[in-house]
Symmetry: C2
Subunit: 210 residues, 2 copies
Amino acid sequence: MAVICDISVSLDGFVAGPNQTLEQPLGEGGEGLHEWVVRLKSWRERHGMEGGETGPDAEVVEEGVQRAGATIMGRRMFSSGSGPWEDDPKANGWWGDEPPFRHPVFVLTHHAREPLELGETTFTFVTNGVETALEQARAAAGDKDVQVAGGANVVQQYLGAGLLDALEIHLVPVLLGGGVRLLDELEPSELELDRVVASPTVTHLRYRRA
Amino acid sequence: MAVICDISVSLDGFVAGPNQTLEQPLGEGGEGLHEWVVRLKSWRERHGMEGGETGPDAEVVEEGVQRAGATIMGRRMFSSGSGPWEDDPKANGWWGDEPPFRHPVFVLTHHAREPLELGETTFTFVTNGVETALEQARAAAGDKDVQVAGGANVVQQYLGAGLLDALEIHLVPVLLGGGVRLLDELEPSELELDRVVASPTVTHLRYRRA
């Protein structure tokens, strides 16, 4: 059981491009960070889609999916919104009636709300901080991993607090030129490279705390 | 013959830490970006030092050294200074009487100056921009590579102008938390991963223009 984050990052360090909107939640060019994954069989199956590629990239993704027993994410990643839920046009999240998680998801928010069940996924809204969310996620995950999904600010909080056991960066060879940085204003520290899997369209770099 | 840049970068994207001074030209923590290379036999030989490690990292460095026929760098990388040369305490650069380049070096500066010969290295000071410096470096390099050494601003100018054939990032698993970013505010673009060499202390990621 480990607390992990795996996330797609541009070569210039962004997890989303500039000018995020409801129509373009990943910002300008941000979709390009995920092209590698939507082509994969292991990702497509999880999202109810047919076909797709197998190979090393697909195995990396499949391993992460199999190991994850609970997910933590920020409110903005859940809905792109902020403020009271009644004003949020995506208050039930981005994933429709059958979200691909199929395990408990904990959403960090300042706005309390009853749990939301959609298909095989229950979203629990946590208002008292990253450590409480992690406690709940650990309990829910059992002997599986807790996946810190994003966004950048949430990853930074877990990384900064020393709570991440592993950080896997899917480094995509594009420059976005601006947007939301994954690693920004963190305390100086050392990590250790644990595994590299490389393909032409993405390099999977897994780090652990040194 | 290619125009290349290879440069050590922290996992959070910095080529130097915060608070650069003459005493600490790489900023706080910046020395940590180069620990991997000063241990290598191929680097130490070039700098007149004995011993050192062999292996994949050393081969990557040796290959770069052998292929480079000319180097381009910015004034700040050359001396850490700015403004008139007579006020610059490091006006003859950082490397003493025997700089390790042993091929022509072109220094981008706003302040004209006669060429400087130190040991087997001649430094030529170029005041009319990156393209002129590249022309001169190409002519000097013959059929060898032109190495764009840094700093970040100079690399950004060559990359942004589409003049770099290859960018090799030596990705070091440390977080510096601040400093000088290598890839900042560049135009959106795509690259292609050309080669990965990984060791526990550094990952060499070589990209080409897509």
